[in-house]
C-alpha cells in the first residue's frame, strides 16, 4: 500500500517539489533568524526611520537640487536621479557612436573598416573599470591647471578642474517654443498626405521638405512668443572659469569610458544585425530597381532591427547596471550615495535593499519597454 503510494509518479513529483520548497523556506528562515540575532547582538535597529533624518553629507554634483540639510530620502532620490541621467545619456551617446562604428566596420573602405575593427577589439577586451580609471587618471593628472587650459576648439577648455563647454541658456518660454515646434512639425508631417496628397515633391525630397517645415515653424514660433535663449561661453575670470557648462573630471571620465566601452559592443550588435539579413534581400532590392539607399532604409534596416533588438536590450540593461562602476571614479550615482549612507548611519540592510530594489525596478522597466518595442517591430506573419 505505502510502496504503491511512493511509486506513484504524481506523488513523487509533488513530494519532491514540496521538499524543495520547504528546504528553500527553511534556508530563508535560517538567514533571517541569523540576521535578527546578529543585529540584536550589535544593537542595530532595523527600520526606515532614518530616511527622514537630515543627511549632513554633501553630494558633489547632481541633476536634482540637493544640499546637506536635506533628508536621507532626498539623498537617495538625488542618487537615483544621477544614475538615470547618466544611464540615459550614456545609452544615447553610445548608440550614436556604436551606429557609426558598426557602419564603419561594414564599410568597403579598408582603412575605415580596419580602424573600426581595431577599436572594437581593443575596447571590448578591457574591463570597463580600467577604462574609467584610465580616463579619470588622464583628466586629473595629464591636464593643465585652469590658467593654462587646453583650448582645442573655440569655447571648449580642458583643465584639471574639469571640462568647460559653451552652454545654451534657455528661459521657460524657450522650452515652450521647443515643445511647440516639435509637436506642430510632427503633426504637420503626419498630415501632409491628407493636405497635399501623395507623391508630390515633399515625398520626392523628404529631407528638404522636413527641414523647411521645421525652419518655418521654428521661425513662426520664435517671432510669436519671443523666447530668451543665450549661448554662454566659458571665460577665464581670476583663477577659474565663469559661464558655460562645467563637466567635472568624474563626470567626463565616466561618460568617456562608458560611451567608448559600450559603443564597441553596440557597434558589433548593429553590424551583426545588418550582416544577418541575407544577401538575397540586397539583390532583390536592386532587381526591382530600388536605389542603394532605399534598399538599406526600406528593406534591410527593418529586418535587421528585429535581429538587433533582443541583444540591444540586454546591452542597454547592462549599461544601466554598469553605471554603478562610477563609484570607482567618485561620481555620486546611487551606488556611491548608498555607500556613504551606510558609512554615516550603519543602516546597511535597508540601504542595500533599496539599491537592489531600485535596480530591479529599472531592469524590469527597461525590459518591458524593449519587449513592447520588439512586439511593435516584430514580423507580422500571415497565417
Amino acid at each position: 500500500m505505502i510502496s504503491a503510494v511512493l511509486d506513484n509518479r504524481r506523488f513523487r513529483s509533488w513530494g519532491g517539489q514540496i521538499l524543495l520548497l520547504g528546504g528553500f523556506a527553511a534556508l530563508l528562515l535560517w538567514l533571517v533568524n541569523n540576521t535578527v540575532t546578529n543585529l540584536d547582538a550589535r544593537g542595530i535597529k532595523v527600520g526606515f526611520d532614518f530616511l527622514w533624518r537630515q543627511a549632513n553629507f554633501p553630494i558633489s554634483e547632481s541633476v536634482l537640487p540637493y544640499n546637506p540639510s536635506d533628508t536621507f530620502l532626498w539623498a537617495y532620490v538625488t542618487g537615483v536621479g544621477n544614475t538615470l541621467a547618466i544611464s540615459v545619456l550614456a545609452i544615447f551617446l553610445s548608440t550614436a557612436l556604436g551606429l557609426l562604428v558598426g557602419l564603419a566596420r561594414r564599410s568597403k573602405h579598408p582603412l575605415t573598416s580596419g580602424v573600426a575593427g581595431v577599436f572594437v577589439t581593443t575596447m571590448r577586451n578591457m574591463p570597463l573599470i580600467v577604462h574609467l580609471l584610465f580616463w579619470y587618471a588622464l583628466a586629473t593628472t595629464a591636464l593643465p591647471a585652469p590658467r593654462e587650459a587646453y583650448n582645442p576648439l573655440p569655447g571648449v577648455f580642458l583643465s584639471l578642474r574639469g571640462f568647460y563647454i559653451p552652454a545654451l541658456e534657455l528661459d521657460a518660454t524657450a522650452w515652450v517654443v521647443i515643445c511647440l515646434v516639435i509637436a506642430v512639425t510632427w503633426g504637420a508631417w503626419r498630415l501632409r498626405h491628407h493636405v497635399f496628397g501623395t507623391g508630390r515633391w515633399h515625398d520626392r525630397h523628404p529631407v528638404l521638405a522636413l527641414s523647411g517645415l521645421t525652419a518655418a515653424v521654428s521661425l513662426g514660433a520664435a517671432l510669436l512668443l519671443q523666447p530668451d535663449a543665450v549661448v554662454s561661453f566659458p571665460e577665464m575670470r581670476g583663477f577659474n572659469f565663469t559661464g558655460g557648462l562645467r563637466l567635472s573630471p568624474e563626470f567626463a571620465a565616466l561618460m568617456l569610458g562608458l560611451v567608448i566601452y559600450t559603443s564597441a559592443f553596440i557597434g558589433e550588435i548593429i553590424r551583426g544585425g545588418i550582416d544577418a539579413v541575407s544577401i538575397g534581400q540586397w539583390e532583390a532590392g536592386r532587381a526591382i530597381g530600388l536605389s542603394e539607399r532605399h534598399t538599406l532604409t526600406k528593406i534591410i534596416i527593418p529586418q535587421a532591427l528585429r535581429i538587433i533588438i533582443p541583444p540591444m536590450t540586454s546591452q542597454y540593461l547592462s549599461t544601466v547596471k554598469n553605471t554603478t562602476l562610477a563609484l570607482a571614479v567618485g561620481y555620486p550615482e546611487l551606488g556611491l550615495v548608498v555607500g556613504t549612507v551606510i558609512n554615516q548611519t550603519g543602516q546597511a540592510i535597508e540601504s542595500i535593499g533599496l539599491l537592489l530594489g531600485i535596480f530591479l525596478t529599472i531592469s524590469i522597466a527597461v525590459s518591458l519597454f524593449m519587449n513592447w518595442y520588439n512586439a511593435h517591430v516584430a514580423l507580422v506573419e500571415a497565417r
Binding site: 571590448r124 554598469n322 551606488g335 551606510i342
Partner: protein, 365 residues
C-alpha cells in the same frame, strides 16, 4: 549498337571556385568616389589625431631611468612599470615566497593549454583541473609541507585575478547546470525558484552583489562563521557567474531536440539518467563557444573587486602608482593592466572563434 561512354564528360564537371573579383587599384579604392574620399579623409584625420598619443607612448617615453623624478618630462614613464612590475603582478605577497604564485600562474597556463584541444576533454581533464586547483590553493595558502602560511589578506595581483575568475566559473558551473535544468523543468516549483534566482541576480549590478557579500553576508550568517573578504567576494562572483552561465546552458538545452528524450523514454531509460547521460552532454557541447564568452566577461568582472577592497591586479597597479617617489604614473599603470587584460581576453576570444569554426566543420569526437 554503339556504347555511349559518358565517363569523360562526367569527369569534366568538377566544382570550381568562382573567379576572384579583380583587385581595385589603391587609388581608386581610397579616392574612387565621393564616399571613399570622405572616408579616407575622415579616417586619416582620426589617425593623425592619434599621433600625440603615439609620441607620448613610444617616442617621448622614458623606458629606463635611475632618477624617478625625471620620469615625467614629456612622455610615458614606462620605467615605472619596470620598477613596479613585481608589485603589480604579485601584490603584497611576501617577496621571498613569490615563486609560489608564479608557480600557480604557470600551472593555470599549463592547464589552460592542455584544455585547448577538444580531443582531451573528458572526466579525466575535469579531475585534473580539480586536483590542480587544490595544488594551487595549497601553494598560495601554505602551512603544509614546510611552506610558510600566507593569509588571504596578503594575496594579491594577477594570481588573485586569475584564481577569482577560475574559481567563480568552476564553482558556478554546477549551480548553473541545476538552475538551467530547473528553469526548463515541467514541475512548477523548481521552475519558479530557478527563474526567480536567475532573474534576480541578472537584474542586479555586480557592484550590488559585491556590497551584499562584503557588508551583508557577515550579518546573514551565524556569529561563529567567519568568511574572509576574499571568500565573500568569491561567493558573490560565483552567484553572478552561475546566473549568467545558467542562461547560456539553457540555450544549449533548448537546442537538444525533443526526440532525444523521447528515444530515451522508448528505451526505458529513467528520466534523470536520460537528462544526465543524454541531454546534458549534448547541450554542454553545443554551448562551449558561448561559455568561453562568459569566461571573458568573468575575467573582466573580477576587476570590480577593487570596489570592495580586494587586492587584485588592478588594485595593485593603483596602489603602486601612489608611491610618492614617482610622479603619479596612474595612466601608465592602467595602460599596463589594460594590456594584460587585453591579452587574456583576446586570447580566449580567438580560441572561441577557432572552436566555433570547428563546431561548424565537424563534431567534437
Amino acid at each position: 549498337m554503339t556504347v555511349i561512354d559518358l565517363a569523360p564528360t562526367v569527369a569534366h564537371i568538377e566544382p570550381s571556385a568562382p573567379p576572384r573579383p579583380p583587385r581595385k587599384p589603391i587609388l581608386q579604392l581610397f579616392f574612387g568616389d565621393v564616399m571613399a574620399s570622405v572616408l579616407t579623409v575622415t579616417t586619416g584625420f582620426l589617425l593623425i589625431l592619434m599621433i600625440p598619443a603615439l609620441n607620448w607612448a613610444v617616442l617621448d617615453a622614458v623606458w629606463a631611468t635611475d632618477d624617478p623624478s625625471t620620469c615625467r618630462d614629456r612622455g610615458a614613464c614606462w620605467a615605472f612599470i619596470a620598477a613596479k612590475f613585481r608589485f603589480i603582478i604579485f601584490g603584497v605577497y611576501p617577496p621571498d615566497e613569490q615563486w609560489r604564485p608564479l608557480l600557480v600562474m604557470g600551472l593555470i597556463l599549463a592547464m589552460a593549454l592542455v584544455s585547448l584541444s577538444p580531443r582531451l576533454w573528458g572526466q579525466r581533464l575535469i579531475a585534473a583541473w580539480i586536483a590542480s586547483v587544490a595544488v594551487m590553493l595549497t601553494l598560495m595558502w601554505g602551512g603544509v609541507l614546510g611552506l610558510t602560511p600566507v593569509p588571504t589578506s596578503s594575496w594579491g595581483g594577477l594570481p588573485v585575478t586569475l584564481l577569482l575568475a577560475l574559481l567563480s566559473l568552476g564553482l558556478g558551473l554546477p549551480f548553473a547546470v541545476f538552475l538551467a535544468l530547473g528553469r526548463r523543468s515541467s514541475l512548477p516549483i523548481p521552475r519558479m525558484l530557478s527563474l526567480m534566482t536567475i532573474e534576480l541576480v541578472r537584474g542586479l549590478p555586480l557592484v550590488g552583489l559585491l556590497f551584499v557579500a562584503s557588508i551583508l553576508l557577515p550579518l546573514l550568517l551565524p556569529a561563529g562563521w567567519s568568511i574572509d573578504k576574499l571568500g565573500r567576494t568569491l561567493a558573490a562572483l560565483t552567484v553572478f557567474a552561475a546566473a549568467y552561465l545558467a542562461e547560456v546552458i539553457r540555450g544549449g538545452l533548448q537546442g537538444v531536440s525533443a526526440g532525444q528524450i523521447e528515444a530515451a523514454k522508448a528505451l526505458g531509460i529513467p528520466g534523470w539518467k536520460a537528462v544526465w547521460h543524454i541531454v546534458l552532454p549534448q547541450a554542454l557541447q553545443k554551448v562551449i563557444p558561448p561559455l568561453t564568452n562568459t569566461a571573458i566577461v568573468m575575467v573582466k568582472n573580477t576587476s570590480l573587486v577593487l570596489i570592495v577592497g580586494v587586492f587584485d591586479m588592478l588594485s595593485a597597479a593603483r596602489v603602486a602608482a601612489t608611491d610618492p617617489v614617482w610622479p603619479a604614473p596612474y595612466v601608465e599603470s592602467y595602460v599596463f593592466v589594460a594590456l594584460i587584460y587585453f591579452l587574456i581576453c583576446f586570447g580566449i576570444s580567438n580560441y572561441s572563434r577557432w572552436l566555433e569554426i570547428r563546431v561548424q566543420s565537424r563534431s567534437y569526437r
